[in-house]
């Protein structure tokens, strides 16, 4: 529900437009290939963060986001390398496969309640990593190398779009990210999003108002996991390699921090803020690699103690003047 004044309502689209324009002009401004890599990685991080926060928006905490990230990556790589499919067929297929697996898993583990759910997602994550590592057909612990870039798309003019350069891949990933943000926004502001909000705050109330808590959670789980699969597919073809240790539980924890840093009450804005900070931050401090784990720990503690509502949440509370009054309930927002 929108509480913005008319002037604020006008500012939002303009700010958004400026932001998108900036994002589009990045490859022109950034010359360092390493920085481009980091920026592309931060786009994946945002999508993964949004996967976590979509499931969290129904009140469930998942430690298995990386599992579906892996499934998307491996499925995409396998479909292309073993079945010789085009990327443009394999990638959507990989996302669908991720969704189907998420559906099957979700049907079972969502029944059991919020606490055991966390444990089961963690177990599933470990399980997937082990599967990818133990089976040579899946590449074993060394994983796959030489995963090809997407095939060029031919258009009438001027030339086929290729995806070899960093800039080209950046646009592909940016497009996917903007699409994900757009679709997520539509879902969150629809009846589905409202049901999720209610389920998160009071399962009892949601259920007695006719919402099946179970079904809505499974829906969130499937959509969110498919998003992680999308990130996986794009990432696999960007890096050219996948190996099991990329997708361990620690990655899932990192993903959770992406969302938490930005603000857990903000399913889209949270990851959009938190993920780039956590991915680009280490790059800015890359001269002093020893400091990074320390910074990570400090950031985590700072979030827990001082900014439990994350960056976006704290800004919102400041804006409302709640800071001085201590905790008051924050409105769930985008």
């Amino acid at each position: 529900m929108n509480l913005l004044s008319d002037r604020q309502r006008l500012i939002r689209p303009i700010a958004l437009f400026i932001l998108v324009a900036l994002l589009i002009s990045v490859p022109v401004m950034v010359k360092s290939p390493y920085l481009m890599t980091v920026l592309i990685a931060s786009c994946f991080a945002v999508i993964l963060g949004m996967s976590f926060s979509m499931i969290y928006s129904t009140g469930l905490i998942t430690l298995g986001t990386a599992a579906f990230y892996a499934i998307g990556a491996y499925a995409s790589a396998l479909l292309i390398m073993k079945l010789n499919l085009s990327f443009w067929v394999a990638s959507p297929l990989a996302i669908i496969i991720t969704g189907i697996i998420a559906f099957a898993i979700g049907l079972v583990i969502i029944r059991v309640g919020t606490f055991i759910f966390v444990v089961l997602t963690l177990l599933f994550n470990v399980f997937i990593v082990q599967i990818c590592g133990q089976f040579p057909v899946l590449g074993g612990w060394r994983g796959f190398v030489n995963i090809p870039r997407p095939e060029p798309i031919s258009i009438p003019w001027p030339a086929p779009i290729e995806f070899v350069s960093h800039a080209a891949y950046y646009y592909l990933v940016l497009f996917a990210l903007l699409l994900v943000v757009f679709i997520s926004h539509i879902i969150y502001t629809s009846r589905i999003g409202r049901a999720w909000q209610m389920i998160k705050q009071s399962e009892r109330l949601a259920e007695s108002l006719g919402m099946s808590v179970y079904r809505y959670r499974v829906l969130a789980f499937v959509i969110a996991s498919s998003l992680a699969g999308l990130a996986g597919s794009l990432d696999a073809h960007y890096l050219g390699v996948v190996y099991p240790d990329m997708f361990g539980v620690f990655t899932s924890v990192y993903i959770q921090v992406y969302a938490a840093l930005g603000g857990l009450g903000f399913p889209i804005l949270g990851p959009v803020i938190g993920a780039p900070i956590m991915v680009i931050g280490p790059y800015l401090l890359s001269d002093i690699p020893e400091i990074q784990p320390i910074i990570f720990g400090v950031v985590l503690i700072a979030i827990i103690v001082f900014f439990p509502s994350g960056i976006a949440g704290s800004l919102q509370m400041l804006r409302r003047g709640y800071f001085a009054r201590g905790k008051a309930y924050e409105k769930v927002d985008v």
């Binding site: 539509i186 109330l205 108002l209």
Partner: protein, 257 residues
């Protein structure tokens, strides 16, 4: 005289938790367009009975028939879909949502268009949302919640929180409304405001069952009163007769003694 079969029939409901018998063969019926008061000392099993009718608990034995079909054992959201709405003694609220958002979300059941239409924002989906928004405004104005419509539910006083939970139950346009202590702790004029609202809903055809300890509210507004004690129905009559019923008085005195 109410023609036709009762909307809700509770037949022989027993509920045991281990060796603890909470309900012991309770029979009850509720007709359309009537307010039934459900009273009794604490621990009598009233809320448990609501939980069984509503679907949160399944009975050890017995049957619940609603609108002609057996709803025993159905899931809560399925029963809600059939037209049963309920409020809770310990308020079930979305503390971090605004009053407007809470009531608006409660129209969830009234949408005929499916989830896909909601996602695709089809014209019918958008229309239904617009109608729901208007009805939300109506309910808010009617209950006098206007000034609070953008306040977070968690920041309201308990009286307004209760009104909010009742508003959410109304929004589902139920056939049967189960109110669990809707006016306990409210001041007298608030009690009248809420109970008048309930009476209006009854006049529109809805069946209502009210669990209450506020005897004035029960006496003034109920068409019929059922008394539960120690898991059994010990009386069922017009409000005035219940007030004079010796067994009822003893059951309440027994609680205080």
């Amino acid at each position: 005289m109410k023609p036709g079969r009762p909307l809700l029939e509770v037949s022989g409901i027993c509920k045991r938790f281990g060796s603890l018998v909470v309900l012991d063969g309770v029979d009850l019926h509720v007709n359309n367009a009537e307010i039934v008061g459900l009273i009794g000392p604490n621990g009598a099993g009233k809320t448990t009975l609501f939980n069984i009718i509503n679907g949160f608990i399944s009975p050890t034995s017995g049957k619940i028939t609603f609108n002609g079909s057996d709803i025993t054992g159905l899931k809560v959201h399925q029963i809600a879909r059939r037209g049963v709405a309920r409020t809770f003694q310990e308020l079930a609220l979305c503390k971090e949502s605004t009053v407007f958002a809470s009531i608006f979300s409660a129209f969830h059941l009234t949408y005929k268009s499916g989830v896909c239409s909601a996602f695709l924002r089809t014209r019918s989906a958008r229309n239904e949302e617009r109608v729901a928004k208007e009805k939300t405004k109506e309910i808010i104005d009617f209950l006098g919640l206007g000034p609070y419509k953008d306040k977070l539910a968690g920041n309201l006083s308990s009286g307004y929180q209760k009104a909010l939970t009742i508003a959410m139950a109304f929004a589902t346009t139920p056939k049967l409304l189960l109110l669990d202590e809707p006016v306990t702790t409210l001041s007298e004029d608030r009690v009248d405001m809420v109970m008048n609202l309930v009476a209006k809903v009854r006049d529109a055809g809805t069946a209502v069952v009210v669990i209450e300890h506020n005897m004035k509210a029960i006496m003034n507004y109920c068409d019929r009163v059922v008394v539960l004690a120690y898991g059994k129905k010990i009386a069922e009559d017009l409000p005035q007769k219940i007030a004079e019923n010796k067994e009822v008085i003893e059951a309440y005195l027994g609680e205080m003694g």
